[in-house]
């Protein structure tokens, strides 16, 4: 299949290009016919599109070993006489896939040579079989491998710790006097461009949701902070290019130098919605608690949006389902009268969350994933086990998102304060208001929306209720195993579920109408009249997030007017660092101008290049479905 597609690709080398490989086939045909898919669905469940996605391949290894090196490892393994027929088939498919990629490189080489582009041809020559030795070779091989992954119908193809696995090649070039910093920067910039050239062909839930994330920084086993010249160049390249890919994550911790945050804040100012900041101090212990080895935990990267995954070793499905916190609380309210105290009622809510966790963990069986021989060549354990990655990797954990956390916590805070404690809200009034969508209870609704306590105001409650909800969620999944032998991970992301879950959600005690939006990710209510970013950060760093570490950031929208000078960029950097020091786990910042968005909705043709962060990825605003456009406009109404 991969061979057929790569054969069908026509080599295109654009003028001045140094790193080649551009997609020409606009649609990858499905490996199965509709009838075959229907047959599979009778006995199996599928996740999203059914192919391998959203994992982090071992680029470091393939750049080192080369395609030929990897092929030799497979051929060596195939000599084992005890292999089953199935294992043999897999290994031969793997060899076939590697050769297909090699032939594809060869085809580009011929094209380059006949066009008189000797430098490109010789680079392609060098990376045909052996690993990279120079920065340019490394980036070209990476491009070819990444290209082949897309072509093999894997999607949400992340790019992992780019600065770490690319750095040795940069350093070698520098040491040998082969390259200047400017030349290195130009190459990295060109690699970034290649991620955008054909990105409209890459699928996701929405245009732009293509998972091409990279992760910069972090610490090594010795505890040294790993922000190097390549990391710096990546931030600068992204700033200059002003394009949606790759989407940058910055790993940081309490001791990360302020200068790194400042460079990040400059990019934030660009309004691309990244970098996203990930806090090693919370994420690494959290992953270790889930059972990852210290080495793997320290090596974490970020999936398409915000989920923490392990390069090479993690065949996780990080977004297999979502728990609707607000939905659970809404259902539980129908039994409110049976409880005499808030504690007793919360114990019931806790039970309901755990029952929902039980239901979710029972709901995902007989998963079928389309085999991915080439991706298998980039993942750990597949050659040893002679088994396709689609059947499982070294870890096979499932992640579950949690939507509407603040809606649920704010609602429970209303019940606790006004119903149980102050007794200013009667059961009859509350239930009548909720059942009739606040019709006839407009004053109450106003009061609940505007004056009731909310997460984001740095109040004891509802912040502690938010913590309790997350704790119930984590406990509900803890100790459970999925059919692939992996565990279940609780998280604070929402993906597109924030749209789905809100639609069927009845009116809630925080004053929200039935069907009205809920916030995306780990974020305050849309009704919050903000005290300010400091209170929001305090509210959203109190929860014990290392116990719910699937991923899902606090998202704050900033008005672009705050970036009038470098001084304010530096202040933003300090604010970001403060969130990390408070123990926040993940932060996504979006710089927006509401008027621009409204105008872009009316006149899309004038705003083709307007970029916004949607839930865990950045895309072009005018390409989004209207519900996502409106959500973004709505959430900056009370911008900071």
């Amino acid at each position: 299949m991969l061979r057929a597609l790569l054969n069908a690709e026509k080599p295109v080398i654009l003028e001045g290009e140094k790193i080649v490989g551009t997609r020409t086939i606009s649609r990858i045909p499905s490996i199965f016919t509709e009838a075959e898919w229907a047959e599979i669905r009778k006995t199996h469940t599928l996740h999203e599109r059914g192919t391998v996605s959203n994992i982090s391949p071992d680029y470091e290894g393939i750049l080192r070993d080369g395609l030929g090196g990897r092929k030799s490892q497979v051929l060596e393994r195939a000599k084992d006489p005890t292999l089953t027929e199935e294992q043999r088939l897999f290994l031969s498919a793997a060899v076939e896939s590697i050769e297909a990629v090699q032939d594809f490189i060869q085809k580009y080489r011929v094209c380059a040579r006949s066009a008189g582009l000797e430098d490109i041809a010789s680079i392609l020559d060098n990376i045909h079989s052996v690993g990279a030795t120079t920065l340019r070779e490394a980036l070209q091989l990476l491009r070819m491998v990444h290209f082949a992954l897309w072509e093999s119908d894997c999607y949400h193809n992340t790019l992992g710790r780019f600065d770490q696995y690319i750095y040795p090649y940069y350093r070698a070039d520098k040491a040998a006097g082969r390259i200047t910093d400017q030349e290195a920067f130009d190459l990295i910039e060109e690699f970034f461009l290649t991620c955008n050239k054909d990105s409209d062909l890459y699928v996701g839930m929405q245009q732009g949701d293509n998972g091409q994330s990279i992760v910069l920084g972090g610490r090594n086993q010795k505890g040294e902070y790993l922000f190097n010249e390549v990391s710096r160049m990546c931030l600068k390249a992204s700033y200059e290019l002003n394009l949606i890919d790759p989407k940058i994550n910055l790993r940081c911790d309490a001791d990360t130098p302020l200068d790194v945050f400042i460079q990040g804040a400059h990019l934030t100012k660009r309004g691309l919605g990244f970098p996203q900041y990930d806090n090693d101090d919370v994420v690494i212990p959290g992953l270790e608690k889930l059972g990852y080895s210290p080495e793997d935990a320290r090596n974490y990267v970020v999936a398409a949006c915000w989920e923490f995954i392990i390069p090479k070793n993690g065949m996780e499905i990080v977004n297999i389902d979502a728990l609707s916190f607000a939905g659970v609380v809404s259902d539980a309210l129908e039994h409110l009268e049976e409880y005499a105290s808030y504690e007793a009622f919360y114990a019931y809510v806790d039970n309901c969350i755990k029952a929902e966790c039980e239901r979710i963990t029972q709901a995902h069986n007989n998963l079928y994933i389309v085999p991915a021989p080439f991706m298998s060549m980039l993942m750990g354990g597949t050659i040893e086990k002679a088994r396709d990655i689609s059947l499982g990797g070294n870890s096979n954990n499932y992640g579950v998102h949690g939507t509407g956390l603040s809606t649920a916590a704010d609602s429970l805070a209303v019940i606790k304060k006004y119903y149980f404690e102050e007794k200013t809200l009667s059961l009859e009034e509350l239930m009548d208001a909720l059942h009739h969508n606040f019709k006839g209870h407009e004053a109450l609704q106003e009061h609940l929306r505007n004056d009731a306590p909310k997460m984001g105001l740095d109040l004891e409650e509802p912040d502690s209720i938010g913590s309790a909800l997350l704790k119930s969620f984590a406990e509900g999944l803890r100790g459970k195993r999925n059919e692939r032998g992996g565990i279940w991970r609780a998280g604070t992301g929402t993906a597109m579920y924030y749209i789905f879950h809100a639609k069927d959600l009845p009116a809630t005690p925080d004053g929200r109408y039935a069907g009205e939006v809920i916030p995306a990710n780990f974020t305050p209510s849309m009704f919050l009249r903000q005290k300010g970013p400091v209170s929001v950060m305090r509210s959203f760093s109190k929860q014990k997030l290392e116990d719910a570490i699937n991923g899902g950031p606090l998202t704050i929208e900033l008005d672009e007017s705050i970036f009038r000078n470098d001084e304010s960029v530096e202040k933003l950097a300090m604010l970001i660092r403060s969130y990390i020091r408070m123990g926040g786990h993940q932060l996504q910042l979006n710089t927006l101008n509401r008027e621009t968005l409204l105008d872009a909705k009316k006149h899309p043709e004038q705003h083709r290049d307007l970029i916004v962060r949607v839930w865990g990825w950045s895309g072009y605003f005018v390409e989004l479905d209207e519900c996502y456009q409106d959500h973004i406009i709505e959430r900056i109404k009370y911008k900071i």
Partner: protein, 250 residues
Amino acid sequence: MTDGIVFSIEEFAINDGPGIRTTVFLKGCPLRCAWCHNPEGWSPLPEKMVKRGREETCGYRISSGELAERLGRDRDLFRDSGGGVTFTGGEPLMQSPFLCEVMDGLKDMHKAVETSGYAREDAFRSVMERADSLLFDIKLVDSALHRKYTGAGNELILRNLKTLIASGKPFVARIPLIPGVNDTRENMEATASLLQGAVGLQRVELLRYNRVAGAKYPMVGLSYRPPFDEEKEPAVYDAFTGLGMKLLVL
């Protein structure tokens, strides 16, 4: 312990001094500047304000101890970033006994005060002594014009500015840039000569007139009729850098 009237506390105020700062708005102002964008800060008492179609009370009573306690919660953040608290208004010196008590409760924190300088000299001194830096507004040097556009002459202000300069206390001079009112070469040069040689002067900030200044007037039952052309871009005349002063245009 004294009570004061506060009408807003703004976190992460980026234009009110160094580092991460929280700015506290104290209610009440003796001046009526024609370009004022915070008319809800004029009256010293809580008042009705209609926001997004909803009537609210603007301003609330709070004791100095409670306010100091609340601001003190972000001590770590301020310390990490070289930031602190800024008091503004209204005119914060109208509540100087309250302000002094709050500042006494924040001894280990950087405190800045933004003032019009229109205050009794003893009040000015007592606040100045407690502050780590001042943001001192200088609107117009010509007293008659000052009276015309703010409702009061500037003698008191200029006297307090002298006191400030003589003290050596660090300060930022802030000049709102109002088109056709004070954005003249003459006024800028006169301002620069007042500031010349001030050892405490950190920089001069020119704050461009804010075209949404009038937005809040109807909310507190007032109408906004500026006696100058709002649409005109104010002139930026730099009489300062030539004299060795730092200039920032915001």
